[in-house]
Amino acid sequence: MSKDNQVLEEFTSKEYEHGWNVNLEADEAPKGLSEDTVRFISAKKNEPAWLLEWRLKAYRQWEKMTEPMWANVHHPQINYQDIIYYSAPKQKKSISGLDEVDPELIKTFEKLGISITEQKRLTGVAVDAVIDSVSVATTFKETLGELGIIFCSFSEAVKEHPELIKKYLGSVVPMNDNYFAALNSAVFSDGSFCYIPKGVRCPMELSTYFRINAANTGQFERTLIIADEGSYVSYLEGCTAPMRDENQLHAAVVELYAMKDAEIKYSTVQNWYPGDKNGKGGIYNFVTKRGLCFGDHSKISWTQVETGSAITWKYPSCVLKGDYSMGEFYSVAVTNNYQQADTGTKMIHIGKNTKSRIVSKGISAGKSQNSYRGQVHIMKRASNARNFSQCDSLLMGDQCGAHTFPYIDVENQTARIEHEATTSKIGEDQIFYCLQRGIDEEAAVALIVNGYAKEVLNQLPMEFAVEAQKLLALTLEGSVG
């Protein structure tokens, strides 16, 4: 056991590898939130009046709401007046090429190992790089443009495609959906917008990198993806953040809208700063993600690998409105030290013959708490609905916790619902088996955990799978429980 403890200690004392801080002179809003802040953000972004109105309406609703307390997480009260709601990296008025981008920004990407030029040349992934809330570079736009695909920053979309934004903004996640969604609706800074026209299959993985950079800056991203009839898109979102002492709030909103026969695949790798080993600092990640399968035979698939954040509060959901529509949720959530994760999904079956599948794998180590919270709701009209859910938890160390809170509400007799969950630690006999065959303990754990999470990792697109596997191996280095 002493060896175990030693390795465990090594693991738990591991510092965040992606931690650094680039000094970008931020263009910040004053601290605090009021109608003036909302107006400031809107003015700063030269937004049309209708959007300002929309923001203000959201702000007024937010004022009336109270912070939800039901999640299985504990944190000091957030002072919403102590947050800077807008900050933008300094940039020239317009950018036509990478050479015009602040060289500091380029450096940031190089440190991350995702230099834009590299990405462009080698992988063919179009990157909409987001640093501190403002998109600074969008690549491969022209290639996508030829197909009629719109992939740009949110503010650009507001200027160039106001009719689409007007129609779909808030159509999946209403502004008053919940406390954090309302907050986001009021102060969202920027984000990504994507529209795939009828019958187009997006030829490349669309990707965006979020990074939180200036201290005390809440990050309020807003992503809207619309897949028109018969189209397909795979969207990747990956995150790393620099080391910080103070907790940072992140309340993003992601809306997916799939029309008839359309398919959206949304993958996330999240590796934000989780706080140090004493639980100090780290990101608060309170995200609202929801997809609407509006048309018949549409499909939305969420895949997430969550390794970071001090607190994660995230439930990517699918509203299966169209008949024969399908929702999927694949998740691996790893927590260590004092991290807390309360994550899961909602599958709302409204249309007939709708199907959903949930595979959630939680791994907790150190003193962390990992919860799965999910809902499967079969509405009265949703005949022949089918759901399969599986939530497994793996425990490493005797001070962590794994919890499962599934809600299954069935109002239609023809529904077939299966839910199963298990909690266990890595089998001693499994490790013993590997040891016998000359595989050392660490490699054995990596092997077992990777096998355990494989079902989910397999769902990630190639480009991401590598990163995710690396991340998982890194997080689990030396973690024998």
């Binding site: 039901w70 005797d398 794994a402 529904a415 299966e418 199963e420 969950a421």
Partner: protein
């Protein structure tokens, strides 16, 4: 607060309750303070999200003070055919000595109402009551504040009580509504064993509201078999809070069968306070009409090396609603715990619903815990297979439902009781589904 809720409060405040013990009054006051603090549950209360009991209390009951009359009731029709038993009868929540049969109990075994207990027994009751019933449930607090009758069963060390004890509750609501609050306190000492069957029935069509608080303390190496049969008439509203505390190497088997009633809520809490314990708790709800049955179970593993297994099954027809909320809680030091839970449901009609929430809360790492939950309907191929062999549709359906339901009975050890339950289930499935 609506006016109806207000009048409920007024009535509660005004009602006078007997005190059986020295500090009984204090305990009731405390419970009332707790109740006022928690308040009656609303549709927003997480624990009562799907169970609109407060609304039912407001709508169907008149909350003016009235003492329920204990009318003469013939109990024969309610006695289950399970062979020889000891019998405790409560009519409208009042212990009926005449109707009860307690002769032939093993020496030193005490069965008594709180009121009639001798001073020595009273002091035992006083030392045990409330010790295992820690809860936030408003109806448990309501019961603690207002219970009008309590039954105490005490089995001293190393006594195997041969015959089961049948506790029969009859609410006679032919003319007036009935509101009752009763308690059961059971203490089984080291190495003893006891089987309790609790059955509730009602007469008449007026609404009944009955809260039960049951505290059962099972000491080292003791065995408790507990079976609850809920077969009230359509207007019965019940909230049961059952607490079972287990010490080292004890064994507990519980079985809950719900067949009838308006709103039936069962809170079952098993506290595993010892090592090497074994607990099996099964349940079956076969409901139709407007019945709502809500089973909330918690198994709290506080010590290492214990085993628990839970299996609840349900069939809902007509507008019936099923609610299941099961929680396995493993405390930080309860290593090597094995805990399993399963909930299976069949919906038979368009308007029937099921809301289920099986939960795991695990704070220890070296455990094996799992839960499974399904909702579905009968396998059409199996139905077709039977029909193709000349079995009529209705019988084929009943046969399949019976097969689905039956394995929950494995937990019942008493053969007579098992046969009786089997018959109840099969009759129900052939007649009503």
């Amino acid at each position: 607060m609506t006016t109806a809720t207000e009048s409920i409060w007024k009535e509660i405040l005004a009602s006078s309750t007997p005190t059986y013990f020295e500090d009984g009054k204090e305990a009731r006051k405390k419970a009332f303070a707790q109740l006022s603090e928690i308040g009656l549950p609303t549709s927003k209360s997480e624990e009562y999200r799907f169970t609109p009991i407060t609304k039912a209390l407001e709508k169907r009951f008149t909350w003016t003070r009235s003492t329920p009359a204990s009318s003469a009731v013939s109990i024969d029709q309610f006695l289950p055919a399970i062979g020889d038993t000891h019998l405790i009868v409560l009519i409208n929540g009042k212990f009926s000595k005449n109707l009860s049969q307690l002769e032939g109990l093993e020496a030193n075994v005490v069965v008594s109402s709180f009121e009639e207990a001798d001073s020595k027994t009273k002091s035992i009751i006083q030392s045990l009551i409330g010790t295992v019933s820690k809860t936030e449930d408003p109806f448990a607090a309501m019961n603690s504040a207002y219970f009008q009758e309590g039954i105490f069963i005490h089995v001293p060390a190393n006594i195997q009580v041969a015959k089961p004890i049948l506790v029969l509750h009859i609410n006679a609501a032919q003319e007036k509504q009935v509101i009752t609050h009763t308690r059961l306190l059971v203490s089984i000492e080291k190495g003893s064993s006891l089987s309790i069957i609790e059955k509730s029935d009602s007469l008449g069509t007026q609404p009944c509201f009955h809260t039960f608080t049951e505290e059962m303390i099972v000491a080292e190496n003791a065995v408790l078999d507990y079976c609850k049969i809920q077969n009230d008439a359509g207007a019965a509203h019940q909230v049961s809070n059952t607490f079972i505390a287990q010490a080292d190497s004890s064994r507990v088997n519980t079985f809950t069968l719900t067949l009838n009633g308006q709103i039936i809520r069962n809170n079952l809490t098993i506290q595993i306070n010892g090592e090497q314990c074994e607990s099996h708790f099964n349940g079956l709800y076969l409901v139709n009409g407007n019945t709502l049955v809500d089973n909330h179970t918690v198994v709290d593993h506080q010590k290492p090396n214990s085993f628990s297994n839970e299996m609840y099954k349900g069939i809902m027809d007509d507008q019936a609603k099923g609610v299941f909320n099961g929680k396995i809680y493993v405390r930080p030091h309860a290593q090597k715990t094995n805990a399993f839970q399963s909930n299976r449901n069949i919906l038979m009609s368009e308007s029937a619903t099921i809301n289920t929430k099986p939960q795991l809360e695990i704070w220890a790492d070296d455990v094996k815990c799992s839960h499974g939950c399904t909702t579905g309907q009968l396998d059409e191929e199996a139905l077709f297979y039977l029909q193709a062999r000349g079995i009529p549709y209705a019988s084929a359906k009943a046969m399949l439902l019976y097969a689905f339901a039956l394995d929950v009975l494995t937990v019942v050890k008493n053969e007579n009781l098992k046969a009786y339950l089997d018959q109840l289930i099969s009759e129900r499935l052939h007649k009503n589904f």
